[in-house]
Amino acid sequence: MRIAILLAGIAAGLAAQTVVLQNGTIMTVTKGTFKGAIVIKDGKIVEVGDKVLVPTGAQVIDATGQYIIPGIIDCHSHIAVESINEGSVSVSAMVGVGDNINPEEIEIYRALAGGVTTANVLHGSANAIGGKNVVLKMRWGKDAEALRFEGAKPGIKFALGENPKRQGNPTQPGQRARYPATRMGVEDVIRDAFTEAKSYQASWKEYEERSKRGERALPPRRDLKLEALVEVLEGKRLVHAHCYRADEILMLIRTADEMGFKIKTFQHVLEGYKVAKEIAAHGAGGSTFSDWWAYKAEAYDAIPYNAAIMHKKGVLVSLNSDSAELMRRLNTEAGKVMKYGGLTENEALAMVTINPARQLEIDNRVGSIEAGKDADLVVYDKNPLSVYAKVQKVFIDGTKYFDRDTDISERNRKALEKKRLLDAEKARQDEQKKQGMPPARRTGE
């Protein structure tokens, strides 16, 4: 009897975790677009179809007239971390932005409200070889560890062109120049670092072989910088390379070929359209902006057709934001590749969902609406590729993290709470004044 009650309890618990999104237009990205339903259980999508059986006890959410897409994945972001650039050295592969995640940054919530569920948070572009990335899910309200996309393949940032050169060309009086100052120097920094990494890799191999043979051997001293680069050589760490001009893109491809590693994504890659053939041949992806241009010399040849040309020439393309603001409307950034280059609705949507998932090697988990994948879903009131579409609800792992109606209905309460706090603070200050204490001096902080 006791067991039976227990079982019933578990069943009720499980049923409570089952959610059905019904009657919406489902844009699966990989399996077509149709009117139907999605069954979510224990954070996973268990069934998708035009007709599904609604499990008894499931919570049913009606999405009539609405559109459901997989959670948007931003392949280039810098939100939710306290610092992004360790720019004092030309190779900073030993640091990682994942060490300073700030789970309370409001930009996480704003991204969520724009339909983003996963972000590739990258190190900055101050140096030729930058620090390690962290892939985050926008689980607003959770702590830093819980934001991490568990099991996501690690990556590292490289940067070419104007940004890594900048510190070689100081603009402030008294500022010291840091090598490199030219694109030639950028290539050298990368070749040199990998030459060193290979010899480090060899010394470890030699040590392991000697140990295996039973010889007494001293292990090499661990080098955290070179360790990350060895991971790149061994295909265990993905390279996300910031770049603009065609020449530097080609340079990195040839350097990677020579050193024996692969570039996973070229980031920004605004002249990718000029060397799309070479990028495709290397097997790299391109993660670009829809229509940014002319904000710096190396962006003067940028065209909004970049994504379409690269796609047509066989490059796996995603559209990213690199901005806490733009991040909130990647859906319409995708809409722009329909305009500039005539891609289909599905090709466009793929560029902010399944394509970035593939570029981050998390496509077994996210990026499309398929049974078995994480229930990371966005509900829009209109076709998400339209400039008039608004995010209504966002689910991550089947849990609702954003609801526009709730957000709006909570505003009054929050305003009252803010007023209460300000009033309390004012009362406290008045009390202090009465007691003759000097008012706190506000400095320019």
Partner: protein, 442 residues
């Protein structure tokens, strides 16, 4: 005259016929100031709108453009940009906004416009036919709109010019050389943040109260300049002996006479309140621009009839605890308050996204027709050129766009034809040319 001669004369007359006269057939016309007219024709004569109606017959020899099923809208007006003055925003040598000096009312944006800028064809591609160029800059390094009169920066930045987005010279592009006087309304200087600290810049060791005093001092300097300009005005009128022309004060006369507004760039409600007060005290016309936090100032702006140029709706909320959609809902709120407003792109590289800014506001509460007005007739009225542009009405210039779908604000709609004063405008750009070129790279 022999027969051949006569033929040649006719041919000559035909080819010499002005190309700003034509008939657009089979279209839906959206006048903006009136309801749409379906299945009609539009006659353009000498660059002006001559007639709208289903039964217009083209006189013999007149160019006829068949645009069956397409839609005709007035060309868009961008109310704040530095397109053509700012080629690559991070390369100072290519930026001609942001002159040195505190008071520069005498300088004029139009004369520094590069008609060959690659940016003009790009913005034309998405429907913009006119723009207001801000001499103090609109996003570039030459003095961004964000530089709001803090520290020892500029106060009066020069005359904003309205231009067309096409022409062989800046003179041919000109709609009105001086539609406003740009003022960086004094604000508390911004504290250099983390980024500045990284560059090794010193953070000022000053108190907030000191900075606020500095701000008020600067407002007074601005008022003093107005007083000096008035003295000059009087001296000139009185033909005082020894009167000498001063270009700075001369440039202020249209402002003092109420013919040209001060374009006050002010971003927070505190500054907006002071702008209102300033306008009252000085009795001058004012246009407010670049505000991202109106607070409770809208009823006052309405009462004082002060129009507003709204920055891009694509912005983050002004404060961390503001609603996530605050910049998106702002245009709708302003419309509800009754304040007249127009959109500006406030930049160069995203100037082509002006219609999407307007559309985004529609998604968050602005009525559709008002979004259209905010990039057509409203700016035409605010900048005093509504007799020429901003709507499709008889007698106005034929500044037109013809779109393949009805809604010109939707991303997937394409501009198929553009006319500026009746002249067909090239819609190709560096971007379309490179697209063709590199798509066909073997």
């Amino acid at each position: 005259m022999n027969r051949l001669g006569l033929l040649m004369a006719i041919a000559g007359a035909l080819t010499a016929a002005p190309n700003d006269t034509f008939l657009l057939r089979g279209v839906t016309v959206h006048p903006v100031t009136g309801p749409k007219i379906e299945n009609t024709s539009l006659l353009v004569q000498d660059g002006k709108i001559a007639e709208i109606g289903p039964k217009i017959v083209a006189p013999k020899g007149m160019k006829v453009i068949d645009a069956k099923g397409m839609h005709v809208w007035p060309g868009f007006i961008d109310s704040a940009t530095d397109t053509g003055m700012n080629e690559i925003s991070s390369v100072r040598e290519t930026v001609d906004t942001g002159e040195v000096g505190t008071f520069n009312p005498q300088i004029r944006a139009a004369v520094a416009v590069n008609p060959s800028s690659e940016h003009f064809p790009v913005v034309r591609g998405n429907g913009t036919t006119s723009m207001v160029l801000m001499p103090g800059g609109a996003g570039g390094r030459g003095g961004p709109f964000g530089r709001l009169g803090g520290g020892d920066g500029p106060l009066i930045q020069g005359q904003a010019s309205m231009i067309h987005t096409d022409g062989w010279t800046w003179e041919e592009m000109e709609v009105n050389r001086s539609v406003g006087m740009q003022v960086a309304f004094p604000d508390t200087p911004r504290i250099p943040g983390r980024f500045a600290a990284m560059l090794g810049m010193d953070r000022p060791q000053t108190t907030f109260a000191d900075m606020d005093r500095q701000r008020l001092d600067r407002i007074k300097r601005l008022a003093d300049f107005m007083t000096d300009a008035r003295r000059y005005q009087k001296a000139k009128a009185a033909k005082e002996p020894g009167f000498r022309t001063d270009l700075k004060f001369e440039a202020m006369l249209p402002v003092l006479e109420g013919r040209t507004p001060l374009v006050m760039v002010a971003n927070k409600q505190k500054n907006v309140r002071e702008v209102i007060k300033f306008a009252d005290e000085q009795k001058v016309k004012v246009v407010l621009a670049g505000t991202d936090d109106f607070g409770n100032t809208l009823p006052d702006l309405k009462a004082k009839n002060i129009p507003v140029i709204l920055g891009p709706t694509y912005e983050l909320p002004a404060e961390e605890d503001h609603a996530y959609d605050e910049p998106f809902t702002r245009p709708g709120e302003i419309f509800k308050s009754g304040v007249k407003f127009a959109f500006g792109s406030f930049g160069t590289q995203f100037a082509r996204n002006l219609p999407y800014n307007a559309a985004n506001a529609v998604a968050f509460g602005l009525p559709y027709d008002e979004a259209i007005k905010a990039i057509t007739i409203n700016p035409a009225e605010i900048w005093g050129v509504a007799d020429k542009i901003g709507s499709i009405e008889k007698g106005k210039w034929a500044d037109l766009i013809v779109t393949d779908r009805e809604d010109p604000l939707e991303i997937t709609t394409n501009v198929k034809h553009m006319f500026i004063r009746g002249q067909a405008v090239d819609l190709t750009s560096k971007h379309t040319r490179y697209y063709e070129k590199y798509l066909n790279r073997p």
